[in-house]
Each structure stands twice: as structure tokens, then as C-alpha cells.
């Protein structure tokens, strides 16, 4: 075990932790004032709920001894066997590795909430999140990082393009389909109620993402520094890409566009952060910003109400990032070559991992939603939705001015 790496990973884990409350701010500002608390709560609750699931069985299912490449064993149930170094990162104490990964799980589950915001029942949200952590997040994390079949196939995902972004987006699409659209969209009183809050949240996400991506090097070395650089570059270029398209299409640049573009750049670089050269990172961020702008328009065409654009940004950006990782990855950075460096097979396995992630997570999520709907009912009733979830689901209001 190495003290420098341990200190580094503990700081990174704290930074990834901050991303979940940051997401509460980001999402909270985007909804109407009467749903600010329920929407923030969807993110915030995940810190409690998912951590508990992680401790009981989640970590073990994701990172326990491999069973046929499908799922981890039960070796670490109730966090037994946490003494000593982490089996998957011998330079780190097991507890540090387990906590770092725990923060990823919390964030991923919170990300989904952007899709069902403003209309889901709180109990349904909790039940869905619990089951989703066990049946979607844990297998995904195992497949990619825990030595499962995607890793064995050679698919690479540096910090969670598939596990975090595509998985949460596939779940978000399933939620948008299963829960149905909000009753009022695009009418008076449905504008984002507090964009400054969204900007603070977005800035904190950007900050936390340095821990997310650089920390995924799992050691305080040159690879972490490289991932830090690719992350920041892609984010800046993502902002520029989104703003350019927006400015050309609607005639005005928006602050929401700036923060959304930055987020799109972050998402796109996540799977690639420790695999692609710096120049490619700039291109990936730029492409991410532009493509995700188109991504958020999809919901209008296909008529699903992904309220806060999880699919448009995390789904489209994550998919783009995973594919482009198969193009731009360079062995000089981290031992993996992509299409551009003479390895078309890498692009192929990346594509397989994309299809498998979307397919498995979407179907499993629909199944979970079906169960939860039967058990507790997914939707708040129309009167409650109209008056706001804050008052009806939680008996409180965000603002008493």
C-alpha cells in the first residue's frame, strides 16, 4: 500500500461525493419552484440509500470474486474482509477503494432522477433506486471494472462512460417511458426556476469530475495528471461546441447552454480520459457539446419526457465518448490503441459494450419499473403533480418568501 496514492484517492473520493449534492443543485434549479425540494431530494436521498445498499451487498456484487464474468461473489457482503490492500488496486487500502467506488454508485443513481423529476412518487423512486443499484449498477460495474465479461472482451471505460453515463441514461429513458410525460410541458410556470443554482451545481460537478476522472487512475501518477488535463480540456471545448450550435440555431447563447455544453464535454471524455491524447480530448469535448445539443432535441421528436435531459446529455454524450475512445485511444497514453492507431478491433468491442449497456439496462429498468408500479404506484396523482411534489410528497416548500 502506498500513502501518497491513498491520500490522493481519499481526496478524489471526497470530490466525487460532492458531485451528488452538486447534482441536487443542478437539477433543483432546472425544475419549477414547487418541485425544487423533491427534485433535490431525489439526488440527495441516493447518498443515504445507495451507500446502504453498497455496504450490504452492492460492493460485493460489483467487485467480489468473479462468477462467470456476470456478477461478483458474496465475499464482501456487509463489508466483510475490508482489511488490507484492495485486490483490484494493491497500492490502496481496500476501504479507500470501496469508498471511492461507493461515491460513483451514489452519483449514477442520482443522475437518473433527471428523467422522472416533477411527477414520481417518492416511495416509488426509493424502491426503483434500491433495485436498480442491485440489478443494474452492480452488474455493470462488475462487467467493466470488476473483471467481468466486458473487461475480458477488452472494452475500456476509464471512469464510467458505460457504467455511469450510458447506464443512467438507459434507465432514464426507461423511466421516461414508464412514468409518462409531465402534465404541463412548455407552458407558463414551467421554466427553470433558478438557473443561478444550476450554474453553481454545474460548476461543482466540473470540480468534482477532476476527482472522478483523475482518481480513476487509482494512483497519484502521470496517468492521473493526464486524465485531469483531458477532463478540463474536453469540458472547455464542450462548452464552446454547444454555444456555437446554439448561437447559430436560435440566435442567442444561453448560460444554461454553457453549463450543459460543459457537462456534455465531461460526459464525452469520461470513458476516454486516461486513454486518449490531449488533442483528441479537445476534439471529443467539442464534438460532445455539439452532438448533445442535438441530443436534447431528440425528446421533442420522439415524444418522451426526459425532464432534465439525462438521455440527451449522458446517453448521447456517453455513447459518443465510448465509441470515440475506440477511435482515439493511444497505447502511448495507457497501453490501448484505437482505430486511428491501427486497432479496429477496439472500436468493435467498444460498440458491443455500448449496445449491451443500452440493451441490458433499458430492459432491466423497465422490468424493475413494472414491479415498482405494481407494488407502490409510480406516479403522483394529477392534483398532487399540479400543486407540486414538495407540498404533497414531503409537506414542505422550498421557498416561503
Amino acid at each position: 500500500m502506498n500513502a501518497t496514492d491513498t491520500a490522493f484517492i481519499l481526496v478524489c473520493a471526497s470530490m466525487v461525493f460532492v458531485m451528488t449534492p452538486a447534482l441536487a443543485l443542478f437539477y433543483g434549479g432546472l425544475v419549477s419552484a414547487r418541485n425544487v425540494l423533491s427534485t433535490s431530494f431525489h439526488s440527495y436521498a441516493s447518498l443515504g440509500l445507495v451507500t446502504a445498499v453498497w455496504a450490504v451487498c452492492g460492493y460485493s456484487l460489483a467487485f467480489g470474486s468473479d462468477a462467470s464474468g456476470i456478477i461478483g461473489g458474496l465475499d464482501y457482503v456487509f463489508l466483510a474482509g475490508m482489511a488490507g490492500p484492495a485486490p483490484l488496486a494493491g497500492n490502496l487500502p481496500h476501504a479507500a477503494f470501496m469508498m471511492f467506488q461507493c461515491m460513483f454508485a451514489c452519483l449514477t443513481v442520482a443522475l437518473i432522477s433527471g428523467s422522472y423529476a416533477e411527477r414520481i412518487r417518492f416511495s416509488a423512486m426509493l424502491a426503483f433506486s434500491l433495485l436498480w443499484t442491485v440489478f443494474c449498477y452492480c452488474p455493470m460495474a462488475h462487467w467493466v471494472w470488476g473483471g467481468g465479461w466486458m473487461a475480458q472482451m477488452g472494452a475500456v471505460d476509464f471512469a464510467g462512460g458505460a457504467v455511469v453515463h450510458m447506464a443512467s441514461a438507459a434507465a432514464a429513458l426507461a423511466c421516461a417511458h414508464a412514468v409518462g410525460p409531465r402534465l404541463r410541458i412548455g407552458l407558463t410556470g414551467t421554466s427553470p426556476h433558478n438557473l443561478p443554482m444550476t450554474l453553481i451545481g454545474g460548476g461543482l460537478l466540473w470540480f468534482g469530475w477532476f476527482g472522478f476522472n483523475a482518481g480513476s487512475a487509482l494512483a497519484a501518477g502521470p496517468l492521473a495528471a493526464h486524465a485531469f488535463a483531458t477532463t478540463h480540456l474536453a469540458t472547455a471545448f464542450g462548452m464552446i461546441g454547444w454555444l456555437l450550435v446554439e448561437w447559430m440555431r436560435t440566435g442567442k447563447p444561453t448560460t444554461l447552454g454553457a453549463v450543459s455544453g460543459a457537462l456534455a464535454g465531461l460526459v464525452a471524455i469520461t470513458p476516454a480520459a486516461g486513454f486518449v491524447p490531449l488533442g483528441s480530448a479537445m476534439f471529443m469535448g467539442f464534438a460532445g457539446g455539439m452532438v448533445c445539443y442535438a441530443g436534447v432535441l431528440l425528446k421533442n421528436r420522439f415524444r418522451y419526457d426526459d425532464a432534465l435531459d439525462v438521455v440527451g446529455i449522458h446517453g448521447i454524450g456517453g455513447t459518443l465518448g465510448a465509441i470515440l475512445t475506440g477511435v482515439f485511444a493511444s497505447a502511448q497514453v495507457n497501453g490501448v490503441n484505437g482505430l486511428l492507431y491501427g486497432s479496429p478491433r477496439q472500436l468493435l468491442v467498444q460498440t458491443v459494450s455500448v449496445i449491451a449497456t443500452w440493451g441490458y439496462v433499458y430492459l432491466a429498468s423497465r422490468l424493475i419499473l413494472l414491479l415498482v408500479d405494481k407494488a407502490v404506484g409510480l406516479r403522483a396523482d394529477p392534483d398532487e403533480e399540479a400543486a407540486g411534489l414538495d407540498l404533497n410528497e414531503h409537506h414542505e416548500r422550498g421557498y416561503s418568501l
Partner: protein, 118 residues
């Protein structure tokens, strides 16, 4: 007694308040409202989705006055609230003034009624 309700632009708020104070009007109240008339609303765009906003913020002043003060007060409000000032061209959205008859007024502290209460 008359009640004057003046719906004006929020940007004219201070000018109207000053003008009324200079006339010696020592009681008034206002409400922040939203509404629209001939002035069109605006559009807001969030992630490429357009939301039309018809209702614009306006301020509604309410003043109750003696009959003989009515014309002076109306002129003061007109001059202060019209875009470009008294000689200005004015613009759609400058607002409207409604005048109505007041049947009775009572000062709660003393119980005075009618003219004395205003």
C-alpha cells in the same frame, strides 16, 4: 371620492411615486402584478425548447382621492409613466389607468368616515 388604479411599467415605478408625493398624496399602495395588453410578451429558450411568456411584470398603484384632486393626479401619473416623459411618444406597454367611484371610506384608528378618512 375616486379610486385610481394605475397599471404601469415597473421601470416607471419611482417616477410615479415621486410625482404623487410631490402632489401631496400621502397614502398609496402598490402591487406587483403580471399581465398583458397590446405589448407582446417574449420567448424564453431552454436547451433549444421555446417557452412563450405572455404575462409581463407590471406594477399596479392604487390611490383614493377627493374628486377635485383627480385630474391633477391623473396628469401626474400620465406624465411620469409615459415612455419618453410628458412630451414623449409613448409605447405599447406603458399601461392603463382606471378610475372608479368610492362609496365610503373609514379610518380604522378613529372611526372617521367619508372625506375626512381619505
Amino acid at each position: 371620492m375616486k379610486k385610481i388604479e394605475a397599471i404601469i411599467r415597473p421601470s416607471a415605478f419611482d417616477r410615479v411615486k415621486e410625482a404623487l408625493s410631490e402632489l401631496g398624496v400621502h397614502g398609496m399602495n402598490y402591487t406587483e402584478i403580471k399581465g398583458f395588453g397590446r405589448q407582446h410578451g417574449h420567448v424564453e429558450v431552454y436547451r433549444g425548447r421555446t417557452i412563450a411568456v405572455d404575462f409581463l411584470p407590471k406594477v399596479r398603484f392604487e390611490v383614493v382621492c377627493h374628486d377635485e384632486a383627480l385630474e391633477r393626479i391623473l396628469k401626474a401619473i400620465l406624465d411620469a409613466a409615459r415612455t419618453g416623459g410628458p412630451e414623449g411618444p409613448g409605447k405599447a406597454g406603458d399601461g392603463k389607468i382606471f378610475v372608479s367611484e368610492v362609496l365610503e371610506a373609514v379610518r380604522i384608528r378613529t372611526g372617521e368616515r367619508g372625506r375626512d378618512a381619505v
